[in-house]
Structures are given as C-alpha cells and as structure tokens.
Amino acid sequence: MGNEARLEILTRINRATAAGERPQVERTAVPASVRPHAEIVAQFAEYAAEYRAEVHRVSEAELAALLTKLLAAQNVLVPEGFPAQVLLQLTPRKPQATHADLAAYDAVLTTCAVAIAETGTVVLDHGPGQGRRALTLIPDRHICVVRSEQVVESVPQAVAALQAAVEAGRPLTWISGPSATSDIELSRVEGVHGPRRLEIVLVE
C-alpha cells in the first residue's frame, strides 16, 4: 500500500507539473554587512533584551568572574566541550542524565553557534559546548555565552553560516528570548515550557 500511494502521488504531481514554465531564482551569495560590526553587536544586545533576555556585556577578562557570580550557589549543568579556561571553580557536570534528572538542575551554561542582530536571536547547533537539545530545554535557566565575532547582522547571513552544521546532520535551535505565549487575548506571557530565564553573556 505504501508504495502504491507514493507512486500515485508522484504520478499526479508529474502530470500536474509537466506543462507550464519552469520559474527560476538566482541563488547568489549573501552580501556582507556594510555597517560597522560594533553597531551590529549593539543591535543584537538591544533586540535580545527587548525580547526579555537578560543581556550582560563583558570583556574576555571579566567573563570568568561574571559567570562565577551568576552561577553562585546554583546547580549548573555544563555540556561537554564548554571552554574549560573560563570555568574556573565551576565543576562541569556530566550530562548523562535522564529527563527527570535534568529537571533537578537550576541552570545550564552553553556557548552558541551564531547570533543574529536583526532579530536578537541566538542559534545553537548543539555542537561542543552546547550539548544535546534536552540540556538547554529542561532546566529553568539558560545562560548562553555569545562572542561578539559570532554575531551576524541578518537572518540570511546566519543561514549561510549554519550551512555546514545542517549538512553535517546537526539539529538547530533558534532562541529569541525566553519562551512566550500570546494565546490568551494576545497578551504576552513569558516563560511557558522552555527555560523561563534566558541570559546572554556577550563577550566583546
């Protein structure tokens, strides 16, 4: 039956599309930004904050201290591959836990793959330092370290930057602020099912 359906659908499509012109689109490389990078980074910080992410802007030198402060007295999950040198006294936990175990953590600390200024978005490709998807989903607080050179201006630039990860079969999670719903009278409520707090540590 399965093959029969497949054959029939494909035949119907071929019949439907046999005549008709073939429209074309040009697929050209995404142009680079003309605006100064600092401006783009500032826009990212502004837009991420508008979507209720808590944004901390620090220098490389201040990073470890900030993380220590943010994560004091917290039971923190740190995926493998997170740069060890910034961790200092934080002890990475081995995330081999079940879903229920993950719920016991207060927070998760990750890096990201790319960040988008035009939308205030961080994108995880779940590579080293980001962990499998459940790790950034179940704990109630997500702290994401973004390096200024990871910030691109536009969505098309981000899509281009993610091409290799997608081709390698990695999943992507695009995050713009903490989870939200506008389902009740269109009034926005932050923090439904994902982490209710999103903190972005922007390293410049």
């Binding site: 399965g2 599309t17 499998r132 998807r133 992507l172 999670t173 695009w174 009740i184």
Partner: protein, 473 residues
C-alpha cells in the same frame, strides 16, 4: 460543530448569520485582530527590503512547486540517509491510519501533539481516540480548545475567540487548577504544570512541519511556547505530518521564510523558538523519526495553473488578521481548519470544487484586497477568489441569479437594449420608491434592503442627459 477537517457542515452565509450573533467572540476578535494588525505593520516596516523578501519567498515557493516530485524524492532520500522513515498518504484517511498504526505499534495509550493544522485537517485526534489513544494538545491555545470540546477559530491563535475569564473557568473545571486570578500569566502557569509531566513521560509525539529542506532532509518547526521543543526532543518516537507543498529545495532557501513568517504571523522580529532537525540525531532527541507526506487534494491544486499559487501559503495567518469578513464572522463560519481568506481559496480547492458548502467560500469576500497586501508570499487571494467563482458557477443549476446575470449580459451587449432596460426599470420601480429611495426589495436583492436603502432610478439616464445637454455644457 465539526471536529476539525475541511468539510464545512453548512454554507458560509448560514454559518456567518449565526456566528455574527456571538457578541463576545466579535469583541475578542476585533480586539485581537486590531492589535496584531498594527504590530505587524511595525514589524514589517523594520525591514527596508520587505518587498524584495516577499518576492523572493514567492519565487522560491514557485520553484519548489514546479519540480515538486523531484524535490520530494530528494527529501525522502535525505531523510532516509539520516535514519528517518518516510510515508506517503494520498488522503486524510490514509495519513491518519499511518500515524495511528505507528502509535499503536509502540503500545502508546497517550501521545503528545504540537499544534499542527495538517493533523487537524486529517482529523487525527478522532482516529486516535477511536483506537484508544488519547492525543494531548500541548500548545496552550489548542489545549484550551481541546478542553472546551471546541474547534480552533484561527490558524495561529486557535483560541482567539475565548477571553481570560472563560479560560479560567475552563481550567478550573477541567484541570482542577486552583486559580487565584484570571491573569494570562497565572493561566499559562497552570498549563505549564499540567503539561510538564506529560512531556517528561510520553513516548510518542506528533507534529506538523513548517518547512522541509530537500537537499538536507531537514524539517522545521516554528513556535513560541517551547511545547514544540519538548515534543520534538523528549519522546522516543516522533511522527511529523507534512503537506507535500512544504518542501524547499536547498538549505539557503529557508532564509527569506525565517524573515517573512514571524513578522507576518505573530508580528515579532523572530518567534521565541525554531527547531530544525534532519532524520535522527544519534544520542539526541527521538531515535525514531517518521515523516508522513500528505497529498489530500494538493496535487489537484497543483494541477490548476491559476490555483497553484495557493500552495505557496506558509500558514502565517496575516490574511486572517487583516480580513474584514473574518474579523466579523470569525473562524468558525468557514467550517474548516483553514479559515479566513486562505481558507476561502484553499478549502474548496482541496475538495476539488465538489463540495457545495465549501463552494460558498469564494463568495465570502468583498474583494477588498487587504489579504493580498499582507500575504508574505504574495498569493493574489482576491484574484483566485474570482477565478474560483468562475470555475464553480457554470456547474450550478440555473437559478434566479444565473437567469438575471445572463439576461443582464444580453442587455449590456447592445446599447439600445441597455437604454430600453433603463426605461423599463424606471416604470417597474414605481411602486417601490418612497421619498426617492427604495426601502425594501423582493427576491434576489432583498438582502440588500434589509439594512440599507437603495437609490431609485433617476428620471433620465446619463446617456439621455448627455444627448440633451451634457455634450454642450
């Protein structure tokens, strides 16, 4: 009320006559659509090249559709290469059987669902219930609708017709939740607690798909609440039901849609969460993935060179939000999981223009054109509405309207007949005119005079006045 699906239980005018009486719904809807309209305009204005992005989105969809078979085969191969399985379903019945069989094979008594119009289109929940499998809707609005035993009234905000007080009552009754106030925050928290446990323990999830990339086998879900991520990540088995028109050829092609969709739908720069996955990711997320490719009338739409444009739709619901008819009659009047302007063109086409009730939908529009202006993929909805009217009308049995229209055409074909008809009309209207206007008409035009007066025919037509004086003075 119909339980999902796309077959309207009655013609639009009959349904609208009733829904228009629902003053609560009309207030909610007016508030919601007015708010989101303004927000959308602001979100769109932020991107200076919005028009080019729209054009590109439309063109990419056209390219994807022109070689749809090739792209679907490529998608199938890519998903399989990544460890997923692909199923093909000719119609709703076949699709819901595939999903239910898969769920049953895993011994599931309960599954979790991410909001998916395609699963509502195929009336999946009813099939699952019939086989002893309970489907839990995890999207807040869908949950509200499900608990209320209601049907969605909006593509994106399915419970747009319910206000906070109604929802509080519902949650108290159905979830036994103790709710101190009816603030949306409190209501959302109650849903969070109820669903959290479901997410952590349920083994099978069902989703739709916003886009799929042929070259990489990547499927995409765009969402806000995180229930999507939960369903796509935590269960062992994921089944995604996707209309065949959702495929895009290459990864880079997703870019304009990630700009167009959030700004058009929720009027945000970007929705809170978007997930992409390709087949099975070893050690991450569901280790069994099924993609169900659904036709259910789409190949017929594809075969119509005018109607085909309908398949560009990315279900953003911008056309609903700007539609004056939708704003007043509400989503339920359309009798289909696809309401509003897109529903008025999609529903009848999915039913091959053979369903009489659905065939009333192309007339549920004043052709004001607001939908076309808003549509991120430039579907010329008004034109398609007119086209469909022209496809449906010749097959209707002759009635007072068709006789009147044919007579009018005959009259208009000769100026002397037109002039003669005007003179006759002046005589014929005599008994109807009061103080220079007509207040009540029998028959065809009675609907008009139920709420408005009609001007009476003047003593002389323009052409008569022109002959007498106009051409000189």
């Amino acid at each position: 009320m119909s339980a999902g699906g796309i077959r309207p239980p009655r013609p639009f005018p009959d349904a609208a006559r009733e829904t228009l009486q629902d003053t609560q719904m009309r207030r909610n809807l007016k508030h919601a659509t007015t708010t989101i309209r303004e927000k959308r305009l602001r979100a769109v204005a932020e991107l200076p090249d919005w028009e080019e992005i729209r054009t590109r989105g439309a063109a990419l969809k056209d390219v994807a559709l022109a070689d749809l078979a090739e792209h679907l085969l490529m998608l199938e191969a890519s998903v399989k290469r990544r460890g997923g399985q692909v199923h093909w379903a000719r119609d709703g019945k076949e699709a819901r059987r595939i999903v239910a069989d898969l769920a049953a094979a895993h011994g599931a008594k309960e599954i979790i669902k991410v909001k998916s119009i395609s699963s509502d289109e195929i009336e999946l929940n009813a099939e699952l219930e019939a086989r002893g499998i309970h489907a839990v809707e995890t999207d807040l609005a869908e949950l509200i609708v499900q608990l209320a035993g209601d049907t969605p009234s909006h593509i994106l905000v399915p419970a747009i017709h319910k206000n906070r007080a109604e929802i509080r009552e519902l949650f108290r009754r159905e979830l036994g939740a103790d709710l101190p106030t009816d603030e949306p925050k409190v209501l959302a928290e109650a849903a969070r607690l109820y669903l959290r446990e479901k997410f952590l323990t349920t083994k099978v999830a069902v989703s739709g798909a916003n886009f799929a990339i042929a070259a990489t086998g990547t499927v995409c879900i765009v969402e806000s609440e995180g229930n999507g991520r939960m369903c796509l990540t935590l269960p062992d088995v994921l089944i995604s039901v996707m209309g065949i028109e959702k495929v895009l050829p290459e990864w880079a092609d997703i870019a304009p849609f990630m700009q167009l969709l959030p700004r058009s739908s929720t009027a945000e720069r970007m929705n809170p969460y978007t997930s992409f996955w390709s087949g099975v990711t070893p050690g991450d997320g569901p280790q069994e993935f099924h993609l169900v490719l659904l036709d259910n009338g789409r190949t017929d739409v594809l075969a119509d060179k005018v109607g085909r444009e309908t398949l560009r739709c990315i279900r953003c619901s911008a056309c609903l939000n700007v539609c004056p008819v939708y704003e007043r009659a509400g989503g339920h009047a359309y009798g289909s999981v696809y309401p509003g302007p897109i529903g008025a063109i999609l529903t009848p086409q999915l039913l091959q223009l053979e369903d009489d009730n659905a065939n009333s939908l192309p007339w549920a529009s004043s052709l004001c054109g607001a939908c076309y202006d808003a549509c991120p993929v430039k579907i010329n909805i008004p034109e398609i509405l007119i086209y469909l009217r022209g496809q449906i009308t010749p097959h209707k049995t002759p009635n007072a309207e068709s006789i009147a229209m044919k007579t009018a055409a005959w009259i208009f074909n000769e100026p002397f007949r037109f002039e003669g008809a005007l003179k006759l009309a002046r005589i014929g209207q005599g008994p109807l005119v009061q103080h220079g206007a007509i207040h009540a008409l029998p028959g065809l035009l009675g609907g008009w005079t139920s709420s408005r007066n009609l001007p009476a025919f003047p003593a002389k037509s323009f052409r008569e006045l022109w002959r007498e004086e106009g051409q000189h003075g």
